[in-house]
């Protein structure tokens, strides 16, 4: 790895947010998933020569204090939008993973000028047209983690991040993340019925990325987003699960790079 990302505290919108920054070039806002920031990965490194990353660490996930008034993903999106405005960062490119995609979509629905490009990777947030978002809160931490990739044994970076045996510190961090996810996403589970209606008319160029073996977010979510955002493109990653950025990092970078350059 060449890049050494830095973690800093950003004081904005009345909050003290832990933020990871790394890379160089035009910034991309990255919204991590419901399991928390997994660290600086190959896909970050692959794009870091051309682009810099701004990765807020979600409140309640251990690095940033839980914010009590935030009781829904829409509340959280409101906070993130305030921060983007205060930092004068809009319009900015965004990549949102899973629940991070939900946050990005809520931000876009409230402010269609906040993003220049929007990449939603296996996004939650809209009730799937068919199928269900897997109830990962009714899985053990271990099974939840394993369900995010199509084949853990064939995903070296997955093993590198999480190791063979979960450490007490990892368990605690996952419990923090899952507890906060439960707190703000429990009901309706990881979606907001009004979101697709509020997304109509949003003109932000949007790319929906989905692994064809995703066991967490069904294809129906991608179809629902396509129906809500006119002109949204879809990139399918064959044979990978919920985390194409880990399971197929080079392909993921290629897809994202091309889209962001468009």
């Amino acid at each position: 790895m060449v890049t050494t990302p830095k973690q800093e505290i950003v004081r904005a919108a009345g909050a003290e947010m832990g933020v990871v920054r790394g890379g160089s070039g035009k910034p991309i806002l990255v919204l991590h998933d419901e399991l928390g920031y997994p660290g600086w990965l190959e896909w970050n490194e692959g794009l870091a020569r051309e682009r810099s990353f701004v990765i807020p660490l979600q409140p309640g996930f251990g690095q940033t204090e839980r914010i009590d008034w935030i009781r829904s993903y829409r509340d959280l999106a409101g906070l993130y939008s305030q921060i983007v405005r205060e930092l004068g960062a809009a319009p900015i490119d965004v990549i949102g993973f899973s629940a991070g995609g939900y946050i990005a979509a809520e931000m876009a629905a409230a402010d269609p000028n906040i993003f220049s490009h929007m990449v939603l990777v296996a996004p939650m947030g809209i009730k799937p047209a068919a199928g269900e978002i897997a109830d990962f809160l009714a899985m053990t931490v271990r099974n939840h983690l394993l369900s995010t990739v199509a084949d853990a044994a064939k995903t070296p970076e997955f093993t590198k991040i999480y190791g063979a045996q979960m450490t007490p510190a990892q368990f605690e961090a996952f419990e923090d993340a899952r507890s906060e996810t439960a707190r703000i996403g429990w009901e309706p589970f990881m979606h907001n019925p009004s979101l697709p209606h509020l997304l109509r008319g949003v003109k932000i160029p949007t790319l929906l990325v989905w692994g064809t073996r995703d066991a967490i977010v069904p294809r129906g979510c991608i179809d629902a987003y396509r129906a809500a955002i006119a002109g949204a493109q879809v990139a399918l990653c064959e044979g990978v699960g919920h985390r194409p950025e880990i399971e197929s990092a080079a392909e993921f970078d290629r897809i994202v790079s091309k889209f962001l350059a468009s």
Binding site: L137, T140, R142, Q165, E172, S179, A182, R183, W186
Partner: protein
Amino acid sequence: MQIGYFTERPYRWLPEEVILKNGAFFAVSNKLYDRERAADDYHYYLDENCYAEDLGFDVVALNEHHGNPICMGSVMNVEASVLAYRTKRVRLVLIGNPLPVIKHPLRMAEELAEIDLISRGRLVTGWVRGAGSEQFFNNANPAYNREMFNEAHDFIVQAWTRPGPWRYEGKHFHYRHVNPWALPYQKPHPPMWIPGTLSPETVEWCAEHRYPYIGLGTPLGPTCDLWDFYADEAAKHGYQAGPENFGYMVATAVAETEEKAQKIAEGFVYGGGQNAFSAPQFTMPPGYNSKAAIRILAKQQTSAWLGISGEKVREQMHGGDTGEIDYTDVRRKLHAALMRGQQNMQVIVGTPKTIIPKIKTIMGTLRIGIFIILSIQGPVADDERRTSMRLFAEEVIPELKAYAKESGILDPFQRTPGSVKLAAGTKRAPVVNRELMPDLGK
């Protein structure tokens, strides 16, 4: 001394293999539910609780669980209503209504007030947080469990004591018009006893509110530690805790002979018993345990302290055994667990003569004003259940009452919990007597 009878009202018609294969009672499909047999058993268990009154128990206790064949009480207030009408003397102790799971404290206040009125003031109402699996069953957000528990409790007390109508805008509950036209018979409201499996947060809350705390078959060593914790907290609130603040429930099976007692006691581990209440993913929903508790669990990977077995924590983190089930081996392990439980005095099995000294040891050690037996679980026949109850009532209860009297053990009706003042800076008196059980390690 308040001596109580309690049964989970087990659904007795499931083959054991079904439960073992599922890994737990919770989430066994209700396609196996037999409505005729269930109807018969609801009648039977109501009659059984009336029989407990006839036999001289002071208390019959009820609970509820959801989606779980280990307990047929899905809506305990329904059963409590029937018993309020059918019984005449016995106290009806609800241990307890799962406030965060029900999510409707005004309705709860009305239901309980009616039960108290119908029973003419025999209701003792307890509260619980609801088991982990019940957060899923009722779609109750586990991350708000403790907040909702506290808010619902405070609201209900207000609904019973503050003349209406008034408006309520809380964090989790909102009511435009609070003016229930059913108020409890007892003034200002029924007593509250709180059951638990040793969560320190709950014990602290009980001490603050001066509510008796009932340990549900908890290991005796940690139970003593928690009694001390309760008493320390009580001292901070200016009172001396005593037996009136403490209760204990223990699984108990009695028969005319040791052999018969051991045979029916196997029902306590049928299908895995209480440890098989729910699978790990349902036992610990995210956010249900406090951050402090999670830290302890993560480090120790074992915690009877929180009512969660070490095995469940390890399965959360590292996964469980997914191989074929060897039923004979499983049953052998369960039998061994039952034997261990008896050695640790967490299960009391025998004839009246053999169990009396054991229960006296528990009573003397924990200094409890409330003692409740958890009746036999599993598919045990009606007559064996009733024989166990009868032997306990006729031969054991008088001995326990006499022991309580000579030991100066008072119950919550003899001395109001929290009524013994303790001046600031005064050293509190002991609340447990570990000398009776030197093996407790402290």
